[in-house]
Amino acid sequence: MAEFIAYLIAGIATGAIYALAAIGFTLVWQTSQTINFAQGEFVMLPAVLVLLAIKLFGAPVWLGALIGIAAFILIFGVGFKLTVVDPMIRHGVLPLAIATMALSIIMKEGAKDGFSAEAQNFPSFVPTSTIEVFGAAISLQHLAIIACAFAVIGLLQWFVGGTRLGRQMQATAQNPTVARILGIPVERMVLLTFVINAALAVVASVLISPIYLAKFSNGEVIGLFAFIAAIVGGFNQVRGALVGGLIVGVVDSMAAAYVSSSYRLAVPLVLLVVIILLKPEGLMGRKEERRV
């Protein structure tokens, strides 16, 4: 039982990370039809940039973090939207999706060439010790991840539901055409979702890297699980992405503990197949109507 609780907490912690990535993915997809296949690399890169800033400028950790994060949001929030999405979307969603695959290759290989092919330690802002809860050894890092991730998601929910800007963004996500008629600056709202996506990726990156270390190939698994989380939750639901992320995280953690470590990755894949077969619109999703 104690072991189970420890795995559950660990699963919720990684699940929260997947949820952050999946929420950003869903937001961007909803507002601009961008299927971002580089989403995993978006979570991988900020940690690498932070370490790079520390290494290059000899900056203290906090300054390095600030530089790395600012650079990331600027390049992969605003820059991504303006230089990749905007010129590409007129050709349709397919070329854009392929462009994000090209981007993922550039980010991954760039991190490998420009930084390191080996996993690097990433500074943790909480002690790596554990505390005892009901006889289970719970990692403080996991608890910190859960607290931070949920705080960020709560903040996002408040922003979307409780502020004028957030509601405008939500309206844009639900129906850009109507939003435009209502006088909402749709273009700016779309850009905002890209910035939020980048910011969520930064949070996920900073939270996960002390545990997984910073490595160029981290994005593969994170990206895959974020996509699975988005589909499991319901492809176009922010709430769904949260639920999906947590489910995938817990399933993954339990699989590692009780199935086999070499096939832990396969278990969430099975989950994906089951969902597509039984409830293709996702757990929280609504059936999409075909229109002509």
């Binding site: 039809q33 299927i35 296949f37 990749v84 010129p87 590409m88 050709h91 349709g92 969603v93 397919l94 070329p95 999706a97 392929i98 462009a99 695959m101 090209a102 981007l103 993922s104 290759i105 550039i106 991954k108 290989e109 760039g110 490998k112 060439d113 593969e220 895959l224 996509f227 699975i228 589909i231 070499s262 096939y263 990755l265 396969a266 894949l269 994906l272 197949v273 597509i276 077969l277 293709p280 619109e281 999409e288 109507e289 075909r290 229109r291 002509v292």
Partner: protein, 340 residues
């Protein structure tokens, strides 16, 4: 499907899949014949390595050709082309080294297996929405990778399978680089002609229709589900065939060339060459596989440059290099060139 999705499906097809009506043999077919003849003689005096690179180009072209059918003609995103190629390569390697099966039988089985897996994967995914195929194939890619790495008893794990024999051709041994290269030329030619036939048949017309406007296609009696599935499965089978040739070409296989990154890379080759052009895959594979070998470029750096070039191409000319050439030809002659 929503209005938006319909429009996307229409917008997502910038390629010009023209289906020429006149003549039994068109320019594309003649180019294939000429190409086969040139490649038959090309490696003379090129040495072992040069010949190997040429063969590798053709093998990769087969995989890209299949993906071109899936992506370029039918408008579907498959992210598992390298995994399918791995399936074909390992099937052939295991059957020929461990069970003494002839290469020809293994080649056929590799194609059959990848076709069947394509159907099994595609059926549930395409039932929902076309872009679910992307995620299902993404997951499949990871699964294949895990099996190749973990099932040591079958696949040799990270150490792979070595000493893969090259086949005979009616008693002629194909062990030498040149002999095997010529064999690859013949197989590639046959597969390319088969695809050329397919594209020009009513099936090709139906593929184009479901890429351009699936809803209208369905209202004209076109079984969009069946055609979509077939395009994907046939495209996957081409990867299986490519794998079955790849294994004896390199004589040693391990999981690394069949990773998810490689699947992305193959997609980029389709786009670079010109998706929806019959000859595009040869151009794409030339840029993706042969050029870095000749330039002696480090793998990682070349990948970055290649990906960046593809992104620029996507912005400037989504029809890829074939599209650029078609434009240039049209400018030169003041009319529409026939680039495929």
């Amino acid at each position: 499907m929503s209005v938006q999705a319909t429009r996307d499906a229409v917008n997502a097809s910038p390629r010009l899949a023209r289906l020429p009506l006149g003549g039994t043999f068109d320019g594309a077919f003649l180019t294939l014949v000429a190409g086969a003849v040139i490649l038959w003689f090309a490696p003379v005096g090129m040495g072992r390595y040069g010949t190997y690179v040429l063969s590798l180009w053709l093998v990769m072209s087969i995989a890209v050709m299949g993906l071109n059918l899936t992506l370029g003609y039918a408008g579907l995103k498959s992210l598992a082309q390298a995994a399918f190629m791995g399936l074909g390569a390992y099937t052939t390697a295991i059957l020929t080294t461990k069970y003494g099966v002839s290469w020809y039988a293994a080649f056929g089985l590799s194609g059959l297996l990848t076709f069947a897996v394509g159907i099994v994967l595609g059926f549930p995914a395409l039932r929902v929405k076309a872009h679910y195929l992307a995620f299902v194939t993404l997951a499949f890619s990871t699964l294949v990778w895990l099996i190749l790495r973990n099932e040591q008893w079958l696949t040799g794990g990270v150490f792979g399978i070595s000493n893969i024999n090259r086949p005979d051709f009616f008693g002629i041994k194909l062990f030498g680089a040149l002999e095997f290269h010529r064999f690859v030329v013949v197989v590639t030619f046959i597969l390319a002609v088969a695809l050329w036939w397919l594209i020009r048949s009513p099936w090709g017309r139906a593929f184009t229709a479901l890429r351009e406007n699936p809803i209208r296609a369905a209202s004209l009696g076109i079984d969009t589900r069946a055609y979509t599935l077939l395009a994907f499965a046939i495209g996957s089978a081409y990867a299986g065939f490519a794998g079955a040739l790849y294994a004896p070409l390199v004589e040693f296989i391990d999981p690394s060339p069949f990773s998810l990154s490689q699947s992305f890379f193959l997609l980029l080759m389709v786009v670079a060459g010109g998706s929806g052009y019959l000859l595009g895959p040869f151009v794409g594979a030339l840029l993706g596989v042969v050029l870095p070998e000749w330039l002696r470029f480090a793998g990682s750096l070349y990948l970055i440059i290649f990906a960046a070039i593809v992104m620029l191409l996507l912005i400037a000319c989504p029809q890829g290099v074939s599209g650029l050439m078609e434009r240039a030809w049209a400018k030169l002659t003041g009319q529409r060139g026939d680039g495929r």
